[in-house]
Amino acid sequence: MSTLVLGIGHPDRGDDAAGLLVAEQLSGTPGLCVRTVTGDPTGMLLDPDWGRAEHVLLVDSVRTGAATGTVSRWEGPELLAALPHRSAVTHELGVATTLQLAQGLGRLPPRLTLIGIEGACFERGEPVSAAVRTAVEMVASEIAGDIGDQRP
């Protein structure tokens, strides 16, 4: 089973870097294809590995009101249902719009997962908080472990 991990975020906006840090930790892990997304996320739909992957795993920072560092997981239908409905894209194409476009285009992978790491500070130039760093370690370890379990 091919798995594509997409670490999403901004490297210089505090906890928004969480997804990028997970991708960094997973880089080179056997059995995983790992990418980072720092700009327009629609481009990821054109990545050949998006089309080939049986499982696309998005890792991003989120704000749900939970405690900083809390890790949440949403799977395919549940994830798509939770996306804010916007009938039209704006000048800013975000992850939600990208997934909705993928759905419309019939480009959703067989399995889609979003792992969200609860962030607290997203200010420019701020460091990643300790709780998020701990969560990054945990998420990267879990993903690597899952892949390890699947390997013969």
Partner: protein, 440 residues
Amino acid sequence: MSHTHDRAISVEALARVEGEGAMHVRVTDGVVERVELEIYEPPRFFEALLRGRSYLEPPDITARICGICPVAYQFSAARAIESLCGVEIPDGIAQLRRLLYCGEWIESHVLHIFLLHAPDFLGYQGAIEMASDHRELVETALRLRKAGNTLLEVVGGRAIHPINVRIGGFHRAPTRAELDALVDELSWCRDAAADAARLIAGFEFPHLEIEPTYVALRPEPGSGPSGATDYPIDAGRIVSTTGLDIPVEDWPEHFHEEQMSHSTALHGRMRDGGVYLVGPAARFNLNADRLPPASAELAAEVGLVAPVTNPFRSILVRAVELHYAVDEALRLIAAYEPPEVPAVPVTPVAGVGHGATEAPRGILYHRYELSDDGTITAATIVPPTSQNQPAIEADLAAFVQDHLHLDDDDLQWRCEQAIRNYDPCISCSTHFLDLTVERR
């Protein structure tokens, strides 16, 4: 219930990408009395923020005003400061700037043509709803947009808010090989843009004829490749369809901004009080003769003839400009020779500098006052959307007047489409209008 006599339409929550706004329409005795398009958060805080900063900082600071056209801000700022300081940018660096600007035109025009505006003509609420029925169109858009972003990344360092631009040039010039690697994809993009223009030419365009004054840049003769003259992107004199032809430094004598009681946004007007339009239609109407043969032939093929006076056909102008931007990028890459130095020194000079370039949405004017140590003492930034506000309101009034027979929902939808003709930053928010209607 009458739809045509006394009506008050209030759209309370317009928000452009950078801010928020609203639209209000009042109809009395079947006559449109008032149309007000508000914007709450123009980028004016940046003008105050720039005071006291170094003359080297505006490209990086003003780029943050907009995520879709940061290059326009960078180069209008650079031109203003460099012209004041008496610096002539070497041709190699100037061409590289133009190439970066092409990337911005590509990604911005693609977004608006395919993902914001086309759904209006194809009968969808938006691109997401359109995707399943027009898969090829949306996938083409994503691929075109990615190519524009890649060009921005290679020349500008990153796609959003490029970091490679500086006063005097660039921090680093790309290698020949880095640009050559873009050619195959851009060649595909040129064909895709032409196909898109042909498709768009088949859209049904609502009837609306306007006669504003169009204002655009027009490069001076001989400034283009091989002695030809370019279509305006990064330079030019300011010209209008009413005969204006002035250097950029004369801008304040002919244009000004004024406060409006219904909006915190400044509205641009000509000094004589006239409204005017900037943007693709203005550029095309004043520079159609400057399109190179390939884009000119495409324009003719799709029936685009200057002057374009129906704003709904602006999407077709953008499609031809998209083709031009890709074609121009390919030309610039083919001719590229890495400059000896990526930037030339710029020593501050006390005084006032003016700069204007053609952002995807139209002329973006910057003015800076510097002290002799290069400290900015005053800054003025006039974005295209501010300039177009009065004309958009006038067009909306005419459009509403002709469509009073529509019910409120339909009228709102058509008004949003009419606003999107101008691709203002608030076009984003026009999708989120919460319309309330009062009838008397």
